[in-house]
Symmetry: C2
Subunit: 323 residues, 2 copies
Amino acid sequence: MKRDWLLLALDFGGTKLTAGLAASGERRWRAHQRVPSPPGSNAQSDLEIMMGLARDMLAPAKAPLGAVGASFGGPVDAAQGLVLLSHHVPGWEKMPLRESLEERLGVPAAVDNDANVAALGEHRFGAGQGCDSLLYVTVSTGIGGGWIVHGRPYCGADGMAGEIGHMVIDPIGPVCTCGQRGCLEALAAGPAIARHAQQRLAEDPQAGQALRALVGGEVQVVTARHVSQAAKAGDELSRQALDQAARALGRGIGSAISLMNPQRVVVGGGVAKSGPRYFEAVRAAARVTVPPEMTVDIVPAALGDDAPLWGAIALAENCLRAS
Amino acid sequence: MKRDWLLLALDFGGTKLTAGLAASGERRWRAHQRVPSPPGSNAQSDLEIMMGLARDMLAPAKAPLGAVGASFGGPVDAAQGLVLLSHHVPGWEKMPLRESLEERLGVPAAVDNDANVAALGEHRFGAGQGCDSLLYVTVSTGIGGGWIVHGRPYCGADGMAGEIGHMVIDPIGPVCTCGQRGCLEALAAGPAIARHAQQRLAEDPQAGQALRALVGGEVQVVTARHVSQAAKAGDELSRQALDQAARALGRGIGSAISLMNPQRVVVGGGVAKSGPRYFEAVRAAARVTVPPEMTVDIVPAALGDDAPLWGAIALAENCLRAS
C-alpha cells in the first residue's frame, strides 16, 4: 500500500454530516468538517452537502484520492453497499450509496452502519487496538453495537449483529420504541435518562437544584446531556438518574459478555462522556452478572465522536489494500 | 489428508463416558461405546476407563490411528489443552488432558469443552453445515452454548464464550445455582421443568394424571424426561410446564440472536428431544424479541447425543490437517 494516497471518510449521522480527509498510514486529520443535516433534508440533499464538503477538502490536496469509506446511521447491507433505510431522514430506502460514491468520486468505496464502522475505528485506531474480540457499544439517543470477532468485523447473517439496544433487560420495564418492554435502550439511552430525571424533578420540588438551574427551571427541556453535566457538578438527583441508567447498561453488557466473552467492551456515544463514576457503575453491574472466570474490561471509546469517521478511514484503507 | 487414518473421539460427560472411532473422511462409526462414569470415580479412574475403551476399539483396527479429539463436560483452556475443572467428578483441576492423551496414544490430540465441541460437530457434520455463523445451545441438566463465527469455532477471550445459560432473562425470577436470579438455566433447564411440574402436581391433585402414572404417584421423583414423555402423550400439565420452559429458552435465544444475528441456532441436549411443539414454542418466543429484519432459524441438533463425539472427530481431523 502506497503511503501517499488520500483517504476520504464520510459519516452520515441522523442530525450531523461529517467528513474527514487523512493520508494512508497517517493518524491525524488533514481536513475535518462537521455540519448539521438541515431540517427538511432528504437523502439526495444530504449527499449533495457531503459532496460539497468532499470537494472543499480535496481541492487544495496535493496527493491523489485512493478510496472512500462511509459510515451510515441506520441499517446497511455492507456486502451490497446498500443503505436499507434511515429512521431520521427520508429517501434513503435501498439507496446504492457505495455505487453512488464510486461514480461521483471515481475511486473504490465501502459503506457500513455506524456502530459496525465505529467498532472497526476503535479496533484499528482507538481503545480496541490488538483485540481479537471486541464489542463496541454506542449510547446516545439510541443504543447500538458492533463486533470484532477473530480480529475482524462481524456483521451477522443479515448484517444486523450488535443490536444490544433491543436485548430485553427487564420484561416488566418501560415500553421501548420497538414495542417491546424493558429493552436496554428503553432503560439506558439518553431519553430514558432525561425522562427519569424529569419524573424525579416533578415528584420532589426540592431535589435537583443544580439540574433545574441548568434549564432555567424548565423541567420538560431536560436532556441526558444536562443530567450528565449536573451530575458532574455533584447534583444528587442527576447522579442517581445516571447511576440507574449505568446499572441497566452494565446488566446488558454483562449479558453480552456472558454470551460472547469478548476481550474488551468499548463504550462510545454521547452518554459515555458522563465520566469515571458512570463507568464504575457500568463495570460493577456487569461484573455481578458475569461468570467469575470471565474478563470484564469495559472502557470509554478513545476516538469519541470521531470513532465512525476513523472507522470509515479504516474501510477506505481496506478498499485500497484490496484494489 | 490421507483417507485411511483412524480418528478417535472421546466424550468425558459428567455421568457418561463415550468413545467413538471413525476413519478420516467417513461419516459413520467404525466403533462406538458408552459406559456410565461409576459412582465415586475421579479424573484418573475416568481416564483409565476411556483408555480401556480406546484399546478395545483400536485392537481389531487395520488402519493406523492419526489423531484424537476429546470433548469435556466442564471449562477447558483449549489453547493449552488443559481441563480447568469438573463440576461432577473430582481430580480434574488443571489436568493437562491433551498432553496426557498424546503421551498415552502417541498421536496429536485436541481438547475443548462439550458445548464448543458439539457446535463444531453440528457445523461440520450436522444441522449447521455450511453456516458462516452458528449458535449451538445444549439444554439438559444445565444450559450451555458454543459458537461458530466467520465459519470457525469462537471461544472468547477466556475460552468461555457461549454461557447463554447464565444470561439473566428475568431479574425477579428463581435463584440459579450460580447465585443470580432468573438465569436462563434456572428457567428452562431440566431441573426447572421438573420443579415446575412438581409444584403444579402438588397444587392441583386432579391435574397431570398421565405424568403421575409415569412415576407411580411419586411426585418428588418427576424429572424433565417424565414431563416430556407425558407431554407427548397429551398431558396438559406437562405441556404447560414444557411450554413455559420453551418460552424462556426462546427469550434467551432471542437475546442472543439480537446481539449476534447468527445464521442458525441449533438446539441439542436431552430437553431438546421434546418434539415439534416444544420447538414451535421456542421459535415463537424468540421471534417476538428479535428485530423483524433478522433471521430466526432455530432447529434441533441433527447428531443428538453424539454431537460432542462427532465434534471430537472434527477436532481430530483438524489435528491431522495441521500435522
